[in-house]
């Protein structure tokens, strides 16, 4: 930077660094907290998120849902957690694209294609990213539960389960242990346990436990838990109160 300006204007180097980047007051990003969590099963996928919305240490709203259902008769659910203005914008633009896809092609957008669409939308803002951890949940072409997770610039992967947002680091190892049975061995054989599909009932219990624990130790998580469940019959929602402190 320094040498660039000096050469460009053919100026003698000065002892005070005038060519250093000018300080810029406006920061276009902030953090609105919250956490999301998705788990897929044999014929369902759940995407849950707490409903707290924060700025700094202030609780802006105790009920600002962050898990969204995309339009269409084979619905997908998505949440973009982090900087809420970017998250809401991404989801709205995505919802519009998904809706128009169904009009243009007379068929619903598959989970796989929606995931690729999200990647292109995120990468499209590579130089000024959406500051969000994104998770997409739905059913794949074979009716199995599908969860896709994304980084802010569009790297993505299909997974069994994923936590995102403020308390992701608290929840993710718990998921490894309880969903993928990592570090667990069968006491009879001494062999590592093999993960099998969880029942929807067990999954919802696990989600509630994960969020209750995260609420206990993370100040940005709390108020209410919103659990959205996709099955072949559509999307159902369940609410679960979390601590409000």
């Amino acid at each position: 930077m320094n040498t660039m300006f000096a050469e460009q204007f053919n100026e003698p180097a000065t002892n005070h660094s005038t060519a250093a980047p000018i300080e810029h007051r406006f920061n276009p990003y902030s953090d609105n907290g919250g956490t999301i969590l998705a788990i897929s099963g044999a014929d369902y996928a759940v995407l849950a998120g707490d409903t707290r919305h924060i700025s700094g240490y202030s609780i802006n709203s105790r009920f600002q849902p962050r898990v969204h259902t995309l339009p269409g008769e084979k619905p997908l659910i998505v949440s973009a957690n982090g900087f809420s203005a970017d998250g809401e914008t991404l989801v709205r633009r995505l919802a519009q694209r998904v809706e128009w896809y169904s009009y243009n092609h007379n068929k619903p957008l598959s989970a796989k294609s929606c995931a690729r669409l999200i990647q292109t939308m995120l990468y499209g803002k590579r130089m000024f990213p959406y500051y969000v951890a994104t998770i997409l949940a739905g059913l794949d072409e074979n009716g199995r539960g599908a969860v896709y997770s994304f980084d802010p610039v569009g790297s993505y992967e299909r997974e069994q389960c994923r936590a995102g947002g403020a308390a992701a680091s608290l929840i993710m190892p718990f998921l490894d242990n309880q969903v993928n049975l990592k570090n667990q061995v069968d006491p009879a054989t001494g062999e590592p346990k093999i993960a099998t599909d969880l029942s929807l009932e067990d999954t919802v219990k696990l989600v509630k436990d994960a969020f209750s624990s995260a609420t206990e130790r993370h100040i940005q998580v709390g108020d209410y838990l919103e659990i959205k469940i996709v099955t072949k019959d559509g999307v159902s929602v369940e609410y679960f109160p979390l601590k409000r402190d």
Binding site: T14, T18, R25, F26, P28, S58, N60, A85
Partner: protein, 260 residues
Amino acid sequence: MDHMPENWGRPRSDVYGSYQHAIHSAGPQSHTQVPSITGTSVIAMKFNNGVILAADNLGSYGSLARFTDQERLIKVGKETVVGFSGDASDMQYLESMLERLIIEDNYEQDGHNFRAPHIYEYLSRVMYNRRSKVDPLWNAILVAGKKDDGSPFLGYVDLLGITYSSPCIATGYGAYLAIPLLRKLVSEDEDAKNVTEEQARAAIDESMKVLFYRDARSLDKYTVATVTLDGNVKFDKDVRCQNMNWRFAEGIRGYGTQKQ
């Protein structure tokens, strides 16, 4: 003696090199990068028959109380009130945008009227798009009115495009000083059903008084706007903080009671 006034007060070119014009044009184009005339908190809460909001009448110029009859609550359309805090010129720009929006919608004469959620949607997109150009409108805005289903609406949007809804919202210092008082009455949307307009008004008046006590950029003169679910908008202007008690000032250095 240098007779060129534009050179006065500058580092000497023969010592420091001539002025680097890159400094002037560095970074993205900027208009309102710093607010100048500002308004402080706007506070609002829902009650059983609508939404009530308040903002004082001060336009500050830094720490100078520059304008003392600034109106920061405006009626938009038939049944919506928008409250602005932050930069006054950006507020007036947004006012003109909203006015044009309403006028142009009115040309249709199709019986459709903008309600609070529509105004809110419009404002939030304007705010987000300006922040994405890194040229924000330096405001935090509350939008109050009713939804299409007739229930009360209260939303927040700021210079970053951040949006949220809650039964009690306040901008600026109001978020620290007024929200705890307002949430005592209405913590959830359900609680608003048990709060009358009189109770809500009392809480708002109390909050404005607390803000005047502690927010150095506030005024004891303010406007209260009430939007009721029958679509009525009521403005109560030039309200003064009542029953203030400044006895505590006697014991505090800096209020002018002590000479030394």
